[in-house]
Amino acid sequence: MSVPTTREQSEDPGPGPDLNAPLDTSVGAPGDTTRESVPQRIIRALLTQRIVLLAILIVAVVVVMTVLDAGGYLTGPYDSDYLASALINAVPLAMLGLAELFVILSGRGGIDLSVGANVSLSGMIFGYTYGLWGWPVWLAILATVACGAFLGALNGFLIAYVGFPALIATLATYYAYKSVAIVIHDQRSISPKVIQDFFSSARSVEIPLVGGNLPNVPLGIFTFLVPTMLVVWLLLARTTYGRRVYAVGTNDVAARWAAIDVRDARFKAYVISGIISGLVAVVTVGQFASARPDSGVSGNGMALPAITIAVLGGVAITGGIGRVAGIILATLLIVWLNAGILLAFEDNQGSQYQLLALGAVLVFAALLNGVTTRRYGGTK
């Protein structure tokens, strides 16, 4: 049996809560794997460490696209400027992926189908407070995030305290939030002058100090994505609350016997998902330069891509396993792959092939997760 030895090792340090167990395992323990040959070790690293696989796939995508570009097969240049500007799509995607990370980690079929509808409704609140009522921007953002948190809390209450299956509760609230978002302003968008000017939040900026040599990066990366990423990482990896979420997601009965308030931990996961949705609402209003009532649910919606990102990033749908780095790398892979596909096809064919790519990557990742679980006992 090839049991991951690192986990056993990290269980040594006494009876106290082991703060690092599932997180630092990607580093691997030197010396433990000497019994395996090099190719075996590489295969194991690829299968069990999703981050390694994703990093290789990202490099592969960028290399293939660059080669195609050099060969003149693309309709536009696939260079660093293009890659940097494509990151604008990564902001909402990665943030909602982090939201899904939290709820899926919390276990018992955790999933949040309502994030897109939450983005729509919170975005309308931002449109009202900032665009129509003239609140200062910080207060409007606060109100939007509060709205998102409230909508998330509604999900959390139904799921954690009443005991609804997450899929059903968030399906119901998806319908409800979507409907309210459309009805609240009579199906119209809110786009007065101030909201249109808010588009500047989606502009690209030069990175200070070293910016001269690097392409300009969308501002949203620094104002929204990186802070969210850091906070989520700190919460999950460096606080007791984060450990509780992992514990509850891994085995909620055991967590209850360990004196963890299971319902509270799960409830908060949905509230955090709501807070992140509220932030994404602000980002989305900036990108569209208008608060649109269907911003988060039009077409495929925002929830399905976010769940795809989470699964691709190695989050186990059964809960308890998943990392922030996986989400970020999965987002980069999808965003840069999509950007390349858009250039590889004439007119709107590209957007259709993006669907194929997303679906194929998801099925591939899911089947891979299955293989990994059977051979190595799961991804890290």
């Binding site: 059903i168 319908y175 009805v183 669907l355 194929l356 089947l367 299955g370």
Partner: protein, 345 residues
């Protein structure tokens, strides 16, 4: 793995019912269960209220379109009920509707294929797409929601490729057999609704009175126990997705018939959520092992009643989604409370 099996193991509905039956050994649940009576009552109450509020509601001209409109979601819901009973889910049905609809419409418009052939092809295409899902889920042993999220994207791509341009125009009127117009009715009963009722009756009998049907419940209650009891779990699970695909293929024909003579790329969007809503409102447990086809058809009727009621009352049509959401919460909430009481007893 262990958590999910223990969670399911603690609430086996069949065991609870066996315990309640006590002296009378009854293997089957009653033909019509509590949730279904409640649903019938709620639908009846809604119809009475709507009839009082808008005189136009209780007329054939209003009820017949309601029944026609409820047919595709009921039909998809019947398949979805099977899947959810086995503990799975299929979020790709909306995309399957799109593929089947565009293939059927293109065949009829471009090659003048007669209606029966087109319907058979549509059902076959649905079956093949269902088979793709079924094989991946049963033999890939991956959680159904993830696989079907993936295949939904792939199927949608297939559909868009077949569409070519943005719409298919000039769909022939022979499809009106399944539509809202007078051609779609016999003795005042819409064909689409009649077919749905017949299929629902067959599914009800199959699930209740055949060993194969009971196997779905066994798998949903405890997959390992079912395998040990000799159920071919993987084949059964695959069959559930194939049956759903076939039903979705037929539902796609109804969907085209309900539309105008133009089919656009948005066809089928949201059908997966509507079907899941109908199934859970009908009292089927999303955890698997418990559910009924009758409840699903009633759930679809309730959703459609709410939708047409909202429009007929002159409210904004988008408000109906809010009521659908509330209906899901109430229906599943009531079921949760009953389940808790049952366990306490």
């Amino acid at each position: 793995m262990t958590t999910s099996t223990t969670a399911k193991g603690s609430t086996p509905s069949s065991a609870a019912q066996g315990g309640r039956a006590g002296r009378r050994v009854r293997m089957l649940p009653p033909p019509v269960t509590g949730q279904e009576f409640v649903l019938i009552g709620v639908i009846a109450a809604l119809w009475v209220i709507l009839a009082m509020a808008t005189p136009a509601f209780m007329t054939a001209g209003s009820i017949q379109p309601l029944l026609v409109a409820a047919a595709p979601v009921s039909l998809i819901g019947i398949g979805m009920t099977l899947i959810i009973i086995t503990g799975g889910i299929d979020v790709s049905v909306g995309a399957i509707v799109m593929v089947c609809a565009v293939i059927t419409a293109k065949m009829m418009v471009d090659s003048g294929v007669p209606l029966p052939v087109a319907v058979v092809v549509s059902i076959a295409v649905g079956g093949v797409l269902g088979l793709v899902n079924g094989v991946l889920i049963a033999y890939g042993r991956v959680h159904a929601i993830i696989i079907t999220f993936g295949t939904a994207n792939i199927f949608r791509w297939v559909g868009l490729q077949i569409f070519g341009s943005s719409t298919v125009n000039g769909i022939p009127t022979t499809l009106d057999t399944f539509g809202r117009s007078a051609a779609g009715r016999t003795l005042g009963v819409p064909h689409a609704f009649l077919i749905t009722v017949l299929i629902a009756a067959a599914a009800w009998w199959y699930l209740r009175h055949t060993a194969g049907g009971r196997h779905f419940f066994a798998i949903g209650s405890d997959e390992h126990a079912a395998r040990l009891a000799g159920v071919r779990v993987q084949r059964r699970v695959m069959l559930a997705y194939v049956i759903t695909g076939l039903l979705v293929g037929l539902a796609a024909c109804f969907v085209i018939a309900q539309g105008t003579s133009t089919l656009d790329q948005g066809v089928g969007t949201g059908k997966e959520l509507a079907a899941i809503a109908a199934v859970v409102i009908g009292g089927t447990s999303i955890m698997g092992g418990r559910g009924s086809v009758l409840g699903t058809v009633l759930g679809a009727l309730l959703v459609q009643t709410v939708t047409s009621g909202v429009t007929q009352l002159g409210w904004k049509s988008q408000l109906s989604d809010l009521f659908v959401g509330v209906a899901i919460i109430i229906a599943v909430g009531a079921d949760l409370i009953r389940e808790r009481a049952r366990r306490r007893r």
